[in-house]
């Protein structure tokens, strides 16, 4: 096996790691989004801006972002270890000059930095988008355009619309939740699932909740709201009304 074959084989393994990394990163960003929306909704004055980065790092930490990066670095280290082992086994390691070894190490460092940067850029863009949306009352179109520009050239560009839709909808939900907080211990308050009518892209979960046509208690609502099945790009949200309103509008009330 030539050195090129070995590196090609190694590259395939690396691509597999990156694919897994991306998949895991998607999940992490869903969590980041939920956490960020809930916490950013409380930001109301300039003093909070100063604290924002601390809040943001906490969100990334809690969502598992840094853990994932560390795991990626460890995996690359292991990968380099296994490459070295293969090269040793093939009697090729000694044939590599110091410059070539340095180059392999530099490539590894670049891979780590590159992946890390994609994650950071995506996070930063999401942060900016949410932040602008909350503080400056940006429109969805502004948010999308800014996200598209920021993310241009990365695979996250195609996710911009999803990020924007999710951010806006989650923010709306966080606002409604906050408004209900003052009266949420009132048994007369129930929650209704509102949003788009059922169509060809409605998720089964949302369709079931809509078809059930029920009014939910705050606890029931919280459980449904947190369901991972509607975490991403959902076009529905919960709004609160009185029991009598719910009955008048034809919802089933327990």
């Amino acid at each position: 096996m030539s050195l090129k074959d070995l590196i090609d084989a190694n590259q395939e393994e690396l691509e597999d790691i990156i694919a897994k990394f991306d998949k895991r990163l998607d999940k992490i960003f869903r969590k980041v989004n939920v956490l960020a929306t809930a916490r950013i909704a409380n930001i109301s004055d300039i003093d909070d801006v100063v604290k924002f980065d601390v809040i943001w790092r906490g969100i990334l930490e809690e969502a598992g972002f840094y853990n994932l990066l560390q795991r990626y670095v460890n995996t690359l280290d292991d990968l380099q270890g296994s490459l070295n082992a293969v090269l040793t086994e093939a009697g090729l390691l000694e044939t590599l000059g110091a410059d070539q070894i340095k180059r392999l190490t530099a490539i590894k460092e670049l891979q780590i930095k590159g992946i890390e940067q994609i994650g950071i850029d995506a996070g930063l863009t999401l942060k900016k988008g949410l932040y602008n949306n909350v503080l400056a009352g940006k429109t969805k179109a502004d948010l999308l355009m800014s996200m598209g520009d920021e993310l241009g050239g990365t695979k996250y560009a195609s996710y911009a619309k999803t990020y924007a839709n999710t951010a806006i909808n989650d923010y709306r939900q966080a606002t409604l939740n906050q408004r209900a907080e003052v009266i949420q211990d009132d048994d007369d308050i129930v929650w209704i699932y509102d949003g788009n009518d059922i169509d060809e892209v409605t998720r089964d979960f949302c369709a079931e909740v809509l078809v059930a046509n029920k009014a939910y208690s705050t606890d029931e609502k919280n459980e449904l709201e947190a369901s991972p099945e509607r975490a991403w790009n959902c076009r529905h949200f919960f709004t609160f009304v009185t029991r009598q309103d719910a009955i008048d509008m034809g919802y089933a009330v327990d």
């Binding site: 949003g195 788009n196 709004t239």
Partner: protein, 136 residues
């Protein structure tokens, strides 16, 4: 003669504010739900159908299984919200400037007066606030 009151005015004020807040907030939300149901049917506050969509647009919506008026992506209807202002004013508006422009385009250019409340709907809100103060 000394008049001694055992009324806790602070508590009374708090109860009053909470009840009015609840009446305004829940009225706002339920009105939006009713309004959206009505808009999706293409009916205005007076019960008349507003100007239909043009045929091409209607057909392209139908292809995507969309029947409801004003609901393609659903952005405009989802953007309808309300706020309670000083002096117990309940204001309905669009929380996205672009959606606000879209709504104005429909109202001003196409005379689709969809963003209005009927007298019955307004009375319901007023009665809700009055009723909320019963037995205070």
């Amino acid at each position: 003669m000394k008049f001694k009151s055992n009324i806790n005015f602070d508590k009374l004020k708090k109860d009053f504010n909470k009840r009015v807040y609840k009446a305004l907030e829940t009225s706002g939300n339920s009105t939006i739900l009713t309004l959206k149901k009505r808009i999706k049917k293409g009916v205005n506050a007076k019960g008349s159908q507003f100007k239909s969509l043009n045929k091409t647009y209607k057909a392209s919506k139908a292809k995507r299984g969309k029947i409801a008026m004003f609901e393609l992506e659903g952005d405009m209807l989802r953007a309808i919200t309300h706020e309670t202002k000083k002096n117990n004013i309940l204001r309905f508006y669009f929380d996205d400037e672009d959606m606000n422009k879209r709504a104005h385009y429909n109202i001003d250019k196409h005379k689709r007066d969809f963003f209005e409340l009927s007298d019955k709907e307004v009375n319901k809100i007023q009665n809700r606030i009055s009723d909320s103060l019963n037995n205070l």
